[in-house]
Amino acid sequence: MSDTPKRKSDRKAETPSSGARRFKSSSGNMGASAIYRQPEWLGRGSSGWSLPTALPMHRRGLRRRLSVALVVAALGPVIAVSFVAVALIFSSVEQGIQFEAERGLQVARGLFLQQVQEVAAGAVALGGDQALLRAQAAAQTSTARRRLGELSVATPNALFEITDAAGRIVARCTQGTCDELLTGAGRAGLEPAERSPVILRALDYERTVSIESAHDRLVVRAALPLVDPALRLLGTAVVTVPIDGTVVDHLKAALGAGREVVVYVGKDPNASTFMAATGARLVGPTLPRNLHVAALGVGSSVVPLEVDGHPYSVAFGQLQDVNAAAVGLLGVAVDREPLAAAQSRASKALVFGAIAALVLAIALSNLLARRMTKPLQDLHAGALAIARGDLDTNITIDTVDEIGDLAEAFRIMTRSLKENQEGLAARVRELVTVHQVGRAVSTVVDLAQVLRSVVTEVLAVLGGKTAAIALSVGTEPAEFVVRAVAGEPVGERLAPLAAAVAGLGRARRTGAVEADPQLMEQALAAGLRGPVIAAPLTLKERLVGVIVVGRLGEAPFGEADLRLLVTFADQTATAIENARLYTEVRAFSEVLEARVRARTAELETANIEIERALRELGAAQGQLIHSEKMAGLGMLVAGIAHEVNSPAAAVQGLVDAQAETVRRLGHCAQALSALDLPPVAVARFFDLIDGLLPEMAAAPLLTSIEARQQARRLRTMFSGVDGAAEAASMLAEVGGIGERVAPELRALAGEKSPAPMAGYLREIAFLARTSGTIRNAIGSIRRIVGALKRYSRLDEAPLERVDVHAGIEDTLVILSHQLKYGDDGVKVERSFGSLPAITAYVGELNQVWTNLIHNAIQAMDGRGEILIETKVDERDVLVTIQDSGPGIPADVAARIFEPFFTTKAKGEGTGLGLSICARIVEKHGGTLRVDSRQGCTRFEVRLPIDGPPPAPVAVKEARVGSWPSWSSPGGPPASSSSSPGPASKDRG
């Protein structure tokens, strides 16, 4: 064992850089956050696989870490616990002080409010004083003043006032002194109470006490009405007490030592019990600028405050007037000095204690670590020596612990290492040769060259005079031809020896071939003397040749030499086979290459075909999508045509009829003028018609029976007049109005025929009525066209705020011809919730509604019920369209959202409808689900209110690949991964 000091200096000399780099320490705390860096020498071999030479001799890293760990382990918890303990003590003491202050405030406030009540009681006493009341009732001001003076004697420090019934002060006294002395330069806080809110309340018969700020001083002021027995208001009595030193002293007395009381008016000090060092009373500390009075609000808050250089904790609570408005603050201060001193002492003790403990712990842990790491260091040194190759190093550690065991294991390990190393050196030599031969035979495919290089290498490695390989030719009995020779030539004479070795069937080593009975003859024939080794070349148990090495009288071959030769023999045999195989392969590969060229040409042609087919398929898909759109439009147009056509036809018919009516009206006018009625009557007639116009437009027509009955009655009415029957039947056509105006018509006509007038009236009525009908018809055409206009904004619409209900309603209008309301048609139930507008592509959404509703109608064969439900679900809008159709069979499940999937007859649908719906919904960031069972199929569309998420356009486009973009320009195309429902039948 080398001595330690020397090793230390060695280490310093040899590894200054690695030693410095081993730890990267964060300042101070080495153990916890040290980053271990791998020393360079671990990754750096000195040469080849051999041992490192530049090893550090000695380390103290372990010891340092151990001692740091010990310090942290021993001291850390102690320091932490003491910190926590001290902090807990501080905080509980702090809380104690806060609690004391708050409790003090509570007590002080209770006491203070009691004093306020006493002031109120004083006022009540005034109100009950009969002498005062009598004087007031008699308006004897001087008597009242005198009496007030008497009453004020008993209560020092209070101002007594009385007012008249109008609130004017008529007397003011304090401690028996009245009026003059008080006006103007009165005592601070006792300024006149005129216009005080409490007086105003007292004038309204209310007894009130309040805390008020009067001329920047806080006062308690109580007022009550003075009334006579019949409650006539005589005036008010007011008692005012300033909140001054007397009051705060009183409060302090109840709180005990170490407590001070302070009162603020607004934020300004009003009175306090604080004393300056000179013994003078302080008005109170100024509030810190950042102390927000309103924030003190309800309850109390404790604030640290320094008064005259002395620390206090002050609990503040608001003082409020009778309207609950804040007028000031009441503070109770608790002396913090004892706490501050204790805190400072404890801090010092803690710091000194911690430092002392740290020093002690470092010393102790260093000692301990040294003891623990000594054997380890010895072991380390021994291991390093062994690592340098000094396998004779003796590790002398005899401690009976794990380290002792480790040292013993080291010793055993060293021994076996030494033994192994020697064997290893020999083996290495062999391996190197084998490697070289192996490289030669495996890289050369020409047999002759292989054999040549084998014999050359063998001769070089084994150090003989001659080496030769003979290969068998022909079949049994084996004949051998020498194919390669190195060193001294042996030539064809070697063949018999080869045959003899082959006959032995195994490798042969002989010290002197002359003495070998089995080989002597053949060896001599070959001109060989001395030591010979020979090995057969066998390939798959077939003898293919022999390799022979001779030394011609030199040192004999060892067993290792023979082992090497056998290895060479195996490799040579393999090489022979390789060479043969190579020849065959080359021939085969030429054929193959020719075939590959031919195939490649064919494939290129096929690729061109496929590309063309794909292009055509793409075009076909585009065409199909276009036809789906067209199909939708066709559906629309069919509906619209029907819807528009009926009213248009009606309008056409009515307009024709009106033209005819106008013509007849001309005739009537002529007939009318032919009657030659007095102008007054004519004017009256036209007035009558004007007045009736609105009524005529809306008047219901009579049934034919009613009309006949009416005509009969009218005939009776017109009896005896020309054209009675004609007039009666014409008026009957006008409905109820006819009968009403008949008497007047008769009167207007006089003896003349009322028929022209009746005729005129009839035509006018017809015009009025049909005009209404035409208006309605045009209205319904406009409604449909409007819906169509909104609906058909298919692709060009940008993202916008969309009213989902309007879209559904438009769709229903457009599909109305398929709905055929009535017993036999499709009944649509709406259960609409209150929806916000959503951000969407309006045209595309309409397409979704159309597809789903149209599908539902078709699924039900035009008979049944569709329930459309809408509601808001969190940030989504949920639209469900439910039909009472037969449901979707399970075998069609999961496929209905696939493009081109349809169960309809060929030509009926493109099979794209639902897949397009799914794409549109998904593009909006929503989902489309289906849920179907017998008699109830629900499609649920979920759309985010805020519209589609900003999708990564490029990525999505790449994903859908060959699918033609279907959506509006600018929008990301929907991906094909919509979520199909559990069961389905194609409805697309």
């Binding site: 932490a80 910190f83 926590v84 009540q117 009130t208 409650l231 309800v298 003082l319 409020q320």
Partner: protein, 519 residues
């Protein structure tokens, strides 16, 4: 170091807060002047017991928060037969009593039958309300969740009666189990369940998590009995109580000035009035009654005597009773007009005999100092030439004198039972109630028109129609002036300022379901 800091702060937090369990925010403490007597709704007729029962039990209908108006409770809807005598209630499904017994038609029938049928196995002779239900003929379970009440004549206020305390639905299981002791182990279907009762000290209730309506905000409700009003106020100041009841009038000022405390007030379902004996000379002359109404400084009187705890009354109905009308003829203080009216009626002034004014000698629930009120009235009337002789007697004698009709004038008051206008107008002013040994109409007011209107209102269940009829009735009263209505008292609770959601009912009970106070 950071770890230390975290440790410190968490340690400090542990110290500051409560170490788990029930924090003050989970408990609402209410201090009241007296303890409850019994928590069996069939027995309770004191306000303290009724208030606890209000929290523990559900009823078919309950009074809406802050108003004496029935709203669905355990019944979701109801119908009345055309003849007005059969009321059918549909019960709320899936409601359970706090002991798990389902609330069904049988339990409703049980709750009423044990009170109205003396032979019922769970009837007790001391049940307080048996007589109040005399008009119920039968209670039938018409279905699992349907109950029919058959009453002897059409009677619209019946619904309001079912919202009152004794109409609470009790758990039949619990009643059978505890028998006479049920009053100490109440089980209902209200917002709170009973936990503990330390007589003379406290009643503790816990939130019923299965309450059919929104569960109570605060977990525990503790009702303390604290007879001394000063002590109650101190408990409130110190935070030992969150809410106190029965405030001493002098302490109102203190609460007003205290920033941590506030008053919670609501007009009570109560009226105090000066009744005039309308069947005796000289007050059978409405002109003299009107003169008296004009002669009294009512508003000043209410302000001075009630000290902010009363509002001047216009008519019998407090403003928060439905149907109350404020636009009737009033008689403001006007001595000149009073003198004129008296002259018209031929009033002889000092030569007339003095009117006898009966007043109770001590404060009553409806009037703080009747003696003072009587004095003021006497002085006011003297000013217009009416002599009054005040006769003070203790409340019991006072009541007897009024029943006997010995008075010309009388101070009296009425605490409404069920929030129905009928309970004021019919009880206090209908001619039906002028006779018998205990007439409740102590003005002996008898007006056929009024009687018809009130009768019609009783027989119809149409709310709008009833409102119209009561409006008419109040107009009749305003013209006839059988009373000088004086005041509606206020119910006053004081609470700590941070208590939110406290509802004081006109019945003087608190509703604590919504009350909470963040720490």
């Amino acid at each position: 170091m950071l770890a230390f800091a975290a440790l410190l702060s968490s340690a400090a937090a542990c110290q500051g807060g409560q170490g788990g369990g029930v924090g003050p925010a989970d408990r609402l403490v209410v201090a009241r002047s007296t303890d409850a007597v019994s928590l069996d709704p069939a027995r309770t007729n004191d306000i303290e017991s009724l208030e606890v029962a209000e929290q523990v039990y559900g009823r078919l209908v309950r009074f809406a928060a802050g108003r004496l108006e029935p709203e669905p409770d355990l019944a979701t809807s109801w119908t009345v037969s055309d003849d007005g005598t059969v009321w059918t209630f549909e019960l709320r499904p899936n409601v359970r009593f706090q002991d798990g017994t389902p609330v069904d038609a049988q339990s409703v029938v049980f709750s009423f039958e044990r009170q109205i049928i003396p032979e019922h196995p769970n009837h007790e002779p001391d049940f307080a309300w048996t007589r109040s239900y005399h008009n119920i003929r039968r209670v039938i379970a018409a279905g699992p969740l349907q109950v029919e009440f058959e009453i002897d004549r059409p009677y619209a206020p019946f619904l309001a009666n079912l919202a009152m305390g004794p109409a609470a639905i009790v758990s039949p299981t619990a009643v059978r189990k505890w028998g006479h002791e049920f009053g100490r182990h109440p089980v209902g279907a209200g917002p709170y369940r009973f936990v503990e009762w330390i007589p003379g000290d406290r009643i503790t209730l816990e939130r019923n998590p299965d309450y059919w309506d929104q569960p109570a905000r605060t977990r525990y409700l503790v009702l303390l009995a604290m007879p001394d009003s000063r002590q109650r106020l101190q408990a409130l100041e110190s935070g030992a109580a969150d809410v106190i009841q029965q405030l001493a009038p002098d302490d109102l000022q203190l609460v007003r000035l205290h920033p941590d405390l506030r008053l919670v007030m609501t007009p009570a379902a109560l009226v105090s009035y000066l009744a005039m004996n309308t069947q005796r000379r000289p007050l059978n002359d409405p002109r003299i009654r009107r003169a008296i109404a004009h002669a009294i400084r009512t508003e000043a009187l209410v302000k001075l005597v009630y000290q902010g705890l009363g509002i001047p009354a216009i008519g019998p109905l407090p403003p928060n009773v439905w149907g109350a009308r404020s636009d009737v003829v009033t008689y403001p203080y006007d001595p000149a007009k009073a003198r004129k009216l008296l002259a018209e009626a031929g009033w002889q002034g000092a030569r007339e005999p003095a009117l006898k004014l009966f007043a109770p000698s001590a404060s009553t629930q409806y009037m703080p100092s009747p003696e003072r009120v009587a004095g003021v009235i006497k002085n006011c009337l003297a000013e217009v030439g009416i002599n009054v002789e005040v006769i003070l007697s203790d409340p019991a004698d006072h009541q007897r004198a009024l029943w006997a009709g010995e008075h010309d004038l009388a101070l009296h008051g009425w605490f409404n039972d069920n929030g129905d206008p009928d309970n004021f107008l019919y009880t206090l002013l209908d001619s039906d109630n002028t006779t018998g040994s205990r007439p409740s109409n102590i003005a002996f007011y008898s007006n056929g028109w009024f009687h018809d209107v009130i009768g019609m209102a009783q027989r119809t269940t149409d709310r709008t129609e009833r409102e119209r009829l009561y409006s008419q009735a109040q107009a009749i009263l305003a013209i006839d002036v059988p009373w000088v209505p004086l005041a509606h008292s206020k119910v006053v609770f004081a609470a700590r300022t941070n208590v939110r959601g406290l509802v004081v009912q006109p019945s003087a009970m608190g509703l604590y379901r919504w009350a909470e106070h963040p720490p």
